[in-house]
Subunit: 406 residues, 2 copies
Amino acid sequence: MRLVIQKYGGTSVGSIEKIKAIAKKVADRKKEGADIIVVVSAMAGETDKLVNMAHQISEIPERREFDMLLSTGERVTIALLTMALQSLGCDAISLTGRQSGIITNSSYTRAKIKYITGKRIRDALNQGKVVVVAGFQGIDEHENVTTLGRGGSDTTAVAIAATLKAEVCEIYTDVEGVFTTDPNIVPHARKLDKISYEEMLEMASLGAKVLHSRCLEFGKKYKIPILVKSTFGGGEGTLVTDEVNMEESVVIGIAYNKNQAKITIAGVPDRPGIAAQIFGKVSQADIVVDMIIQNVSEGGLTDVSFTVQKSDAKKTFLLMKELVPEIGAEDVKIDENITKISIIGAGMQGQSGIATTMFSSLAKENINIMMISTSEIKISCVIDTKYTELAVRVLHDAFGLEKPKG
Amino acid sequence: MRLVIQKYGGTSVGSIEKIKAIAKKVADRKKEGADIIVVVSAMAGETDKLVNMAHQISEIPERREFDMLLSTGERVTIALLTMALQSLGCDAISLTGRQSGIITNSSYTRAKIKYITGKRIRDALNQGKVVVVAGFQGIDEHENVTTLGRGGSDTTAVAIAATLKAEVCEIYTDVEGVFTTDPNIVPHARKLDKISYEEMLEMASLGAKVLHSRCLEFGKKYKIPILVKSTFGGGEGTLVTDEVNMEESVVIGIAYNKNQAKITIAGVPDRPGIAAQIFGKVSQADIVVDMIIQNVSEGGLTDVSFTVQKSDAKKTFLLMKELVPEIGAEDVKIDENITKISIIGAGMQGQSGIATTMFSSLAKENINIMMISTSEIKISCVIDTKYTELAVRVLHDAFGLEKPKG
């Protein structure tokens, strides 16, 4: 029989009424003739409540105990949703991360799934039950409870889909799908019917919060089609797949990320090993660098700029301040008012003129480009944050995203 | 090293402040040089909250899912208490029922402990850690989560004490210990220093809510001294042990239970098998009968009276109403205004005059005795509920319980 994985996030299961409504949806789908595994998150607000209790006890709670605490949230949801299914006459069983055989490494609060045995999931499916699995959690090889960190429940869903070779993994959320850009900025932004894993990865990492990159990596690796759909609204959603978007435009979406800061070290002596010194220091502090630009050397001195997450910016700035005298540089500056704006499209490869259209469209509005980086499927520019909305609208128009190509 | 088990109930861990206070107590005790295992319940109110959510979904939630839901409560407490210990610099680890190796049968919501492996508990103790165990829960042999029902956390504590051969199992509660009777009724009721398992069992089953009979059965079987103590108050508490109370009075306590109802079937034909018919019907409905009285037969007809829990009374009454024509009896009556009042003492055996003192003391106050039952260590009378407090005071005085004997 057709095997479908469905994942519902915290907002979708945020109240008893919503849990009942989801049970109805699942039971109806089951009647249509599908094997169903439902992966759920903690009820909206529950995780925050638990985190808040932990922080009343300790500013930095030990991470093993933190996971023990947080893992209770999803367990409440699986029990309640299973009861709701049963009360509709739909045979169902709840399984925790451990009972589902989700084995992770021991990196508490951000564990990675090593493998899924899935024995009890298979047994329950064979008995005709709907299986309700706790997302976001697993156990390590010593049977300690772990949680998967951000995007954890999505990752659980796609990893189970891969293990059980499901036909599709449906991720239910509060938006209708993936849009060409943020509809809050561009009201005529268009919902995409299909998008490739690579494109969706770029959209996700650049701020489209619909899907986390971890679950996309899994989907891409194991070729699991991921359908992003609205939980209670209608619509067909967006299918993330490895099919090429033959009928779509070269550029399929505009993403932006206001959550970065730019660090610039001025007057760096241009000698071998200097970049390794700078970025070694940053990575030792467990800070992830995104874009890096090194200007052309003038008189043996160069400027090095790079971007980091805003939450790491102050720490990075202080580290670089220490480093400046050590490496004989002149100064370090920080700019938190930046936005990274990107155009994305798998069809961009080998197409001429795309970058030119982007740069000239921004120039026409007098928007200065501070940094540029390119990859096979995207071009990103760092601009002043105040121009974000204007830039998004201009680029959305420039690439004709309001209507599908063809 | 000395091994101590401590159990804290829901009220004792009912807030973050209380959890911190208990962490302090435990950490101090650890410093004095003891190996410590702490067993905890869900924070007060949490279980009710979960039950309430379940009942919003289903009047009779499936019991496996109910246990999955309820078991989250203790997990929250173990994580928070462990964090609190760690933040005091006290090395600690939380273990769920499963991680502690608490294996039960599959009777969800009232599972019985089959055995405890305790491997991870021992490992953690050997590493010098305080071990914080989730009470009230275990897993069955198929690794489903189970809960132990009423008195579950006390039972967990004593069962762990038995498995690990602890010196003592300390049960912390909101009273100072076990009293000769309810201090709300008799202000000069005296706290007992020691009490035997059998006596405590009678006190517990008759309404002294300090300890549940299940944990006492365990304690008795494995000879684990159980110390009942106030969580935040002072005092030495009461030690439940198998030592004989040489210095105590013959009668050590007065208990009462207002939670029963009396069913009387009048005019029952006095023929063999009639009692089996009556009580067979009751037990088939899973209703527990306490006292049974059959009056002397007059003209081939007899009256049969018995008591059941008040919550089962209506159901029992209706069952008996069905039965009356079947067995050719005359009528069935129900009396919910009864109290079972008992005098308890292991030294009672073979002592003459105890029963007489009880009956005559009640008679002197014109309190009518409706039913009597006796065992080796107690005598119970059923009286009209309105005389409860008077009867308790009269008997407390009659047996001189306000001061220790000797």
